[in-house]
Structures are given as structure tokens and as C-alpha cells.
């Protein structure tokens, strides 16, 4: 063993050489768990596509650590692999030592955005969406109304005919094509109701987190969630002060806005016993709020208490029991694991169990069901090329003869719908809770007849 070689190892703490900002930097304890074994490699969609280790979980962890050791700077070449990460958390599932790669990535992004704020077109777009839109219910509703108008007035048809789409970037055109039919948000609809009472005897009271995009783009799923909760003995409240969960902000490195939103939600749900949501991305973020308050003990504790109450709808129904529908749906479906449900929250069996118990539903196994679809929040907008490749391999795994693809996250639903359209398939993309609600509705109709 040559002396020189031993010396080149990181034999002493070099934190003083760190190129990170002093506050809220990536957490040393997180990378300390990584022994560079490489068990994460094959789980990573970006490594699968590029074959390059700086685009692998252990490579990214290595780079994040290298900035702390002063070996490299917070610059563009560091930013590239850190922002190319889908934050899908598949590596966390694969990792023998439970290294929180996702957490490190989010922290590193916060540092990069401080060092290199987004400028120009990208900066404006990001500001518009992340700060100007998602946190503001009214503005989101306005956009929702505009989309509703766009779809209902025939303008959508006109625009598609005029060829205006031709001047838009390809991936945005693809997205416009699958825009879901937008209905009235449930937060607006039930604004006056203090409590939506359970149908029949009430067993519990739960607070419903509607999600910002979910409520504007997919309000019918929120409607279905409320129906299902009420049918199973839950009084449902929709706390008025709730806001966007902040996941997209934290993913994009805007941790300050993330913190602000987190505080607002923590306060809004302080008196709630249980917080239910149907969006995996929001759920995962809300379960990790404390990560944002490592330097603030008071809020850290409040965040921890808040997170303990957060539950995905499928897990809640599975754990507390629910009525098995009696009517048959007669359909063949497959299930896609949203990353932030399977890898982020460990919820895998519960939604499958719910689907399997709907009479007449035949489940076909999707190979690599817990592989990311490439949506990853707004990744499909910021990294369209990589997202497209990830989507391609996802779609190749969708079984041929199914009629529906069920899942538990709005981002995935948009992305998978885009995949279905792009690859000339015809499956309907649905939320797990929607299927359950349809089965209940069918049962009620049949009872009436």
C-alpha cells in the first residue's frame, strides 16, 4: 500500500473547505450512510438511460459530498446531474443502508438555486408557476376557469385547427393534447360547508388536503375521494387556509417558498386529527416537512406532529376498513406505482388490494410497475428529453390488453395520459379512488332500479 494513495483518501474532516452556504446545506449524516456499494445503480432511470455514474444515485451523493469537501464548486457542471435526477426515490428503496438520496438532492438544489438563481426565460417561467400561481388558490381557479372556457367554448378545437400548436415546443403540444377535462374545484364547491357529514353513522373526522393542481385539473378525483370517505363513515372537513404543499418548490430548489407553504399548511391543519390526500407527491412532501426546519426546533417539532397525521387515501381506507362494493365493474386494468407513493411512502399493497376487491376488476401485472414514468413534478417540463425517454420505457411495460391504468398521483396521470396518446394506445388513465367511487355509484344506481 503506497503512502501517497492513503493520503489521497478523505482521511480528515474537510467541512471547513465546504463550498456550500452555511444555512440549510446538504446533511452530512445522510451521505455518511453511503458506502458506495452501487446497489442503487439499476434502480435509477437516469442511470439506465445514460449509463453515466454522475447520473446515478451514488454518483450524485459522491458529488454532493465533494462540494462539501471543497473538491468542486456549486457550478453548472454540478447542477446538471443534480437537476437531472427525477427525485423518484427508487434508489432509497434499493439502498441497503437507507440513504436518503432524495433529501440530499433537494437540499443540494436549494444550494444551487441560491448560488445560481435561474435567469431569463426559465427564471420567469419558474417564478410565474412556483411563486405566482401554485400557492394562490384564486389565481389557480382563474386559470382553471380559463381552461374550462378554452375547452367548452370550442376554442380548443379552433386553436388545434389553426395550427398554432405548431409553433409551440413539441413537449408542450403533447401536454396540451392530454389536458384533462376541467371541472369546478371542490374547495370552491364546498366553501360554505363546515363539515361534509358521513353517509350513515360517522366513525371519524378527517381533514382533506385537496392539492392545488389536483383540485383545479382533477377536481372529479377530489370529488370521488370525498364521496368514498363519506360513504365509509368519515366526516370530511376541508380546512380553508390550506395551500399548495410546496413539493414542486422544494424539488426545484426554492426551499424558502417551500418553508412558507409548509408553515401555512401546518397551521391550517393544526386541529385536525387525520389529514387525507390523494396525491402521492403532496403526501410524500408533507410527510417530510421537518426536513425543511432542521435549523428551527419549534417548527421542526410542529412539522413532525403534522406529518404523523398525513395519510394517503388508499392506506387510510385499507387500515381503517371500507365497504367492498357489490356491483361489478367488469374491466381489465393494470396498476402503476407512483414513485412518491411506493418509494416515498412505502404504499404498494394497499391500492392494489382495493382494486382487487372491486368485483369484476381483473388486474394484469405491469412489469417494473414501480419504475418512474418521467413526470416527476414538473420534470417533464424542465427536462423534456430525459422525461420522454423514461416515459418510453414505462409505456413499453403497459400490458397490451388492459382498458385502464390506475395510479395515485396527478403528475403521473398527466404523464401516462401523454404516453397513451403518444404511443397510440387507448387505455383510460384513472385514479384508484375513482374506480372505487364508480363501483359505489354503480351499486347505488342498481339499487335504485
Amino acid at each position: 500500500m503506497t503512502q501517497s494513495a492513503v493520503k489521497s483518501s478523505p482521511a480528515c474532516a474537510e467541512t471547513s473547505l465546504s463550498n456550500y452556504f452555511a444555512k440549510d446545506h446538504p446533511d452530512e449524516k445522510k451521505w455518511d450512510d453511503c458506502v458506495h456499494c452501487g446497489m442503487c445503480l439499476e434502480s435509477c432511470p437516469t442511470y439506465e438511460i445514460t449509463g453515466q455514474e454522475q447520473h446515478s444515485p451514488r454518483g450524485r451523493v459522491h458529488l454532493i459530498k465533494s462540494v462539501a469537501e471543497g473538491k468542486i464548486a456549486l457550478n453548472e457542471s454540478f447542477s446538471d446531474p443534480v437537476f437531472a435526477c427525477l427525485d423518484c426515490r427508487a434508489c432509497t428503496t434499493a439502498c441497503p443502508a437507507d440513504v436518503d438520496v432524495g433529501g440530499l438532492i433537494e437540499e443540494a438544489r436549494g444550494q444551487i438555486r441560491q448560488a445560481m438563481p435561474l435567469k431569463g426565460w426559465k427564471g420567469n417561467v419558474s417564478k410565474l408557476f412556483l411563486q405566482g400561481l401554485f400557492p394562490h388558490e384564486n389565481r389557480l381557479n382563474t386559470v382553471g376557469s380559463l381552461i374550462r372556457f378554452y375547452q367548452k367554448s370550442g376554442l380548443q378545437t379552433t386553436i388545434r385547427k389553426t395550427g398554432m400548436m405548431k409553433v409551440m415546443p413539441k413537449h408542450l403540444v403533447e401536454m396540451e393534447a392530454i389536458m384533462p377535462k376541467v371541472n369546478k374545484p371542490v374547495r370552491k364547491k364546498y366553501k360554505k360547508d363546515q363539515v361534509l357529514k358521513a353517509k350513515g353513522e360517522s366513525k371519524a373526522e378527517v381533514a382533506f388536503m385537496t392539492g392545488c393542481i389536483m383540485d383545479v385539473m382533477f377536481s372529479e378525483i377530489n370529488e370521488a375521494t370525498i364521496n368514498v370517505l363519506r360513504r365509509n363513515g368519515n366526516d370530511v372537513t376541508i380546512p380553508e387556509k390550506q395551500t399548495c404543499c410546496g413539493a414542486l418548490h422544494v424539488h426545484a430548489g426554492d426551499r424558502e417558498t417551500g418553508k412558507k407553504l409548509a408553515k401555512q399548511n401546518i397551521a391550517a391543519f393544526e386541529t385536525s386529527e387525520k389529514i387525507i390526500l390523494n396525491s402521492a407527491g403532496c403526501g410524500c412532501m408533507m410527510k417530510e416537512y421537518k426536513e425543511l426546519f432542521k435549523d428551527d426546533q419549534e417548527w421542526y417539532d410542529r412539522a413532525e406532529a403534522f406529518s404523523a397525521k398525513v395519510e394517503d387515501i388508499s392506506k387510510y381506507l385499507y387500515d381503517t376498513g371500507y365497504e367492498i362494493p357489490k356491483s361489478e365493474l367488469n374491466t381489465k386494468i393494470t396498476y402503476h406505482d407512483a414513485c412518491h407513493l411506493a418509494h416515498g411512502q412505502g404504499v404498494r399493497e394497499q391500492p392494489r388490494d382495493i382494486l382487487l376487491h372491486i368485483p369484476g376488476v381483473e388486474m394484469i401485472h405491469m412489469p417494473n410497475a414501480d419504475r418512474c414514468c418521467g413526470s416527476a413534478g414538473i420534470y417533464n417540463i424542465t427536462n423534456p428529453e430525459m422525461a420522454g425517454e423514461v416515459l418510453e420505457s414505462k409505456m413499453a411495460n403497459v400490458p397490451e390488453d388492459v382498458e385502464m391504468i390506475s395510479m395515485g398521483n396527478p403528475g403521473c396521470m398527466l404523464q401516462m395520459a401523454m404516453g397513451v396518446k403518444k404511443y397510440g394506445k387507448n387505455q383510460k388513465v384513472v385514479h384508484t379512488v375513482q374506480l372505487l367511487d364508480w363501483a359505489y355509484q354503480k351499486e347505488d344506481q342498481e339499487a335504485k332500479q
Binding site: 452501487g38 457542471s77 434499493a94 441497503p96 437507507d98
Partner: protein, 484 residues
């Protein structure tokens, strides 16, 4: 994902990029290269000059020729999960990464063989043929991500090698780019035991010093008709070790016979795949038998009775495939799991005669006490292949050196009882000096002479496998590396 144009003043970078014909198939910026400064062995780190990603044998050959003509040191890399540092660019090598050559070229069930490219991941082979009732036997713990090319270089083993043999027993043919850039084929159409010297055996396990493997014909096996798996807990390590010997003496050849000691159990139970091993036991054995259904039950009963003879506290048989996979996931992620109880670890790979297990474990215990570092033991007990995992914290000054010393002492203990210094991880950088425990100067010189036949200029993966350089070229390179 940027880098549409090469932004480098180095002409070699431009030339290498031209060979792989895609600016995305080369890395040359420091930030990107950092991810390649080590493999699964993290004590030595060194930046490569560049990383190139060829798509086929022709490009590999051209890259090799270019490196030769321009005297650029180079080496091959797969998934970089090796544990002895074989893929670390000690001399600032050009890394030829084979991960883009990851196709399963053909499967020939009739003749029980498959042809793969070197970047094809080990477990994917089994996954691709399991529905037809076949599998690929060598199963290193990293099989879910390591490449078969890397397995050939290191002659990788695995838990089931006790019965089925290591990689070399499953290689039927190789296409190799030798260090001059020539492409050679060894193994005639996958027919085993060709006359003449056993070149397949020579290349397999040569740790990337004789050539770059670009195509591999492997043997595939029919799934065993039945298998059963047993967990046995012991209050005393010696009892556990003696049970291992006794099982094999009884005439049973288990498919796998694995052991973990107390510290190792603490690690795997604190990590991502716990199975609920009791905390206060001294050793756990994981025993698997497979074969035709008829004899399995009897073998299991025999194993259970041997375990009882050696004061086993508790034994259980896996009730279903799910339980069996949980036990295996717990064992196979054992190394990485050390991250949960220690910031760094160094894994050793000694081999000893089975009967010496209790003695060597006691010596490892002494080494641990002497160094003040905890040592966990996870090992393929059946074939006497020990993996002492030395737990340390590289941030504490002096601990890395202490860990290296302790590791070396473990290997010395193995050599002294008539064993050797590596079973399956290779020598790489890590165990170069320890080669002296088992070979004298002459024996080492004889081996470097063989290397010279293939690799005369020694630009390919220099400084690995053998202790202090036997040739002046190597001395120069080592010095250069030291200065850098």
C-alpha cells in the same frame, strides 16, 4: 445533459470523442469524472483522464489502439461495484466504460448457453430466462447491478458457488480486445475444454490486466426442481462454525451455506431489509439445499439434526418463496447495510480451510480488539470464504490506516492457517501487498511474465494485482500517480 460540443483543449479528448462518434459518449469535465474516481473500494481515489462509452467491439478496439499509439494508460469498467479497486484509475487512465454494451445477444436453451455483452447485468440474465425454467448460477451479492463483464474480470463468486462453482466454471467463450487493439476469440462456439492451454481460465479473473472482454458465452442451468432454506441461530460462534463443517462432512453439499456474526446481524437488522434476527445471538447460518424434490426433505432433516447436535438455539425452515427471498435480501445487502452502523467499511475476502473457522474467527476478534475497530463477519462459510468487514470512520484521522492494517492482519491470519487472501473480490489495489503472504518474488515474477505476453507495455490497468512493480514502466507510472 449538456455538452453538445466538446469544450476541451486536449486533442486526445477530441480524438476519443470522434471514435465513439457522440459527444454524449465521453466525459472529461472534473465534476463528471469525480463519480469515477473509485469503485466499491473507496479508500483510494484518483480521477480518470476521461470516460468513454463505446457501443460495440469495433469501437473498443479503436479506443484501445488509440490509447496504445498515444501511450495513454487505460482500463475497462463495468458497474464499478468491485470491492478491491480494480476499476480505479490509479494512473489517470482513460476509462473504457462498457455499460452501453448491455445486450443479451442470444439464448440457446438446447445447448444451455447464452451470449451477452459485457455490460449486461448479472441478474438480468436469470430474469430473461427464468420463465423458461433456466438461470445463470454465479450470484455475487451485487448481482442486481454488477455486470457479467466485471464478473469475468474478477472471477466473481457468490452465495451459491459452494455447489455450483464461481464465474470461471460458467464461461464457455470470450471475445477479447487485447491491449494492442487486436480482437481475439477464445472458446470454440461455446464448446468446453478445447485443446491447448486454458486461456478462458487465464482471462477469467485476470482483473482487467490481460484484455477487455467484449462478448461472453456463458453456461445456463435448468432451475432446480426444489429448494429449501433454513435459518439456524447459535449462542456460540464456535458451535456455528463446527455445524458448518459437520453439515458438509455428513455428505450434504448445500447450494449455499452462509454465516453472519453478531456485529453483522446488528448491521443488517438496522438497515433496509431486516428479518427480525434475535439481537443477542452470536451467529446465524443461512443454509439452502436444492436439487430433485425427492431428497430435499431428508437433507433438511439431516441439517436440522446436525444443528441441534451443536446446541443450536433455534432453527426454522422458510415457509414460502416470500420468506426465502426476505432472508436472502437481508443477507445479500449485508455489505451496504454496514452504512447503517458505520460511516465507512473495508471488506476483506480471505479463504481458509473450513475446519479452521473457529480459530480464525478468534484471531479476527483479537485483531478487532487490538485495532479498536469493530469487525463484522459475513461469510460464505461453506467454502471457507470469509468477509470480515472492518468498520471505521475515514473522517477520524488515522482510522483509515488502522482499518487497512487490520484488514491486512486478517488476511495474514488466513494465509497462516493454509488459506489465501482472496476468494472472489480480487486483489485489485487493495491486496497487492498481501500477495506476498501467499507468493514469493519468483512466483510473482512468473505471473507478471505471463501478463507481458498479452500486455507488454502495461498501459492496461497498470499497478493492479501484483505488489511493488516488477518493471520500470510501472515504477514510473506509480511515481507519476503519487505526484498527482
Amino acid at each position: 445533459m449538456k455538452g453538445k460540443q466538446i469544450q476541451s483543449k486536449d486533442k486526445h479528448i477530441h480524438q476519443l470523442a470522434a471514435i465513439v462518434a457522440n459527444t454524449r459518449s465521453i466525459l472529461y469535465k472534473k465534476e463528471d469524472l469525480l463519480a469515477y474516481d473509485c469503485d466499491g473500494f473507496t479508500i483510494h481515489k484518483h480521477l480518470p483522464k476521461a470516460v468513454v462509452f463505446p457501443k460495440n467491439t469495433k469501437e473498443v478496439a479503436e479506443l484501445v489502439r488509440y490509447c496504445c499509439q498515444n501511450e495513454l494508460p487505460f482500463l475497462a469498467r463495468g458497474a464499478g461495484t468491485g470491492l478491491s479497486g480494480g476499476a480505479i484509475p490509479l494512473n489517470g487512465e482513460v476509462i473504457i466504460s462498457l455499460v452501453k454494451m448491455k445486450n443479451l445477444i442470444s439464448v440457446d436453451l438446447e445447448n444451455r448457453r447464452a451470449v451477452v455483452e459485457p455490460g449486461f447485468v448479472n441478474l438480468k440474465l436469470t430474469n430473461s430466462i427464468s420463465d423458461k425454467g433456466y438461470y445463470y448460477a454465479p450470484d455475487p451479492s451485487s448481482q442486481s447491478c454488477c455486470t457479467i463483464g466485471g464478473n469475468v474480470a474478477e472471477n466473481a463468486g457468490g452465495a451459491h458457488c459452494l455447489k455450483y462453482g464461481v464465474t470461471t466454471n460458467h464461461i464457455l467463450g470470450l471475445e477479447v480486445v487485447v491491449p494492442t487493439g487486436e480482437i481475439i476469440e477464445i472458446g470454440d462456439n461455446g464448446i468446453p475444454d478445447a485443446p491447448g492451454y486454458d486461456l478462458l481460465g487465464l482471462i477469467t479473473g485476470s482483473e482487467g490486466t490481460l484484455g477487455i472482454v467484449t462478448k461472453i458465452t456463458v453456461r445456463i442451468l435448468k432451475n432446480p426442481e426444489a429448494k429449501q432454506t433454513v435459518l439456524a441461530y447459535f449462542d456460540d460462534v464456535t458451535d456455528g462454525s463446527q455445524a458448518v463443517s459437520a453439515i458438509i462432512s455428513a455428505g450434504i453439499i448445500p447450494a449455499a451455506l452462509e454465516m453472519m456474526d453478531k456485529t453483522a446481524i446488528e448491521g443488517v437488522e438496522a438497515a433496509a431489509f431486516p428479518v427480525g434476527h434475535p439481537k443477542n445471538i452470536a451467529a446465524v447460518l443461512l443454509i439452502e439445499v436444492d436439487g430433485i424434490s425427492a431428497g430435499i426433505e431428508e437433507q433438511i432433516n439431516q441439517i436440522l439434526s446436525v444443528c441441534r447436535q451443536f446446541n443450536v438455539r433455534d432453527v426454522k425452515v422458510a415457509q414460502d418463496e416470500q420468506e426465502r427471498s426476505r432472508w436472502w435480501a437481508n443477507r445479500k445487502t449485508g455489505f451496504g447495510a454496514m452504512g447503517a452502523i458505520s460511516p465507512d467499511y473495508l471488506v476483506q475476502d480471505g479463504v481458509i480451510p473450513r475446519s479452521k473457522l473457529p480459530e480464525v474467527l478468534e484471531r479476527i476478534n483479537q485483531i478487532s480488539e487490538h485495532s479498536g475497530l469493530r469487525i463484522a463477519n459475513i461469510f460464505h462459510a461453506g467454502d471457507g470464504n470469509l468477509h470480515p468487514l472492518i468498520l471505521f470512520d475515514a473522517k477520524i484521522p488515522g482510522e483509515t490506516e488502522k482499518a487497512l492494517e487490520a484488514g491486512s492482519a486478517c488476511l495474514q491470519a488466513c494465509a497462516e492457517v493454509g488459506g489465501t487472501i482472496t476468494g472472489e473480490h480480487g486483489v485489485g489495489i487493495e491486496k497487492r501487498e498481501e500477495m506476498r503472504f501467499v507468493f514469493n518474488e519468483e512466483e510473482i515474477a512468473a505471473q507478471t511474465t505471463i501478463r507481458s505476453v498479452f500486455n507488454p507495455v502495461n498501459l492496461l490497468n497498470a499497478g493492479k494485482l501484483f505488489p511493488s512493480p516488477g518493471k520500470c514502466v510501472e515504477i514510473k507510472m506509480e511515481k507519476k500517480a503519487a505526484i498527482l
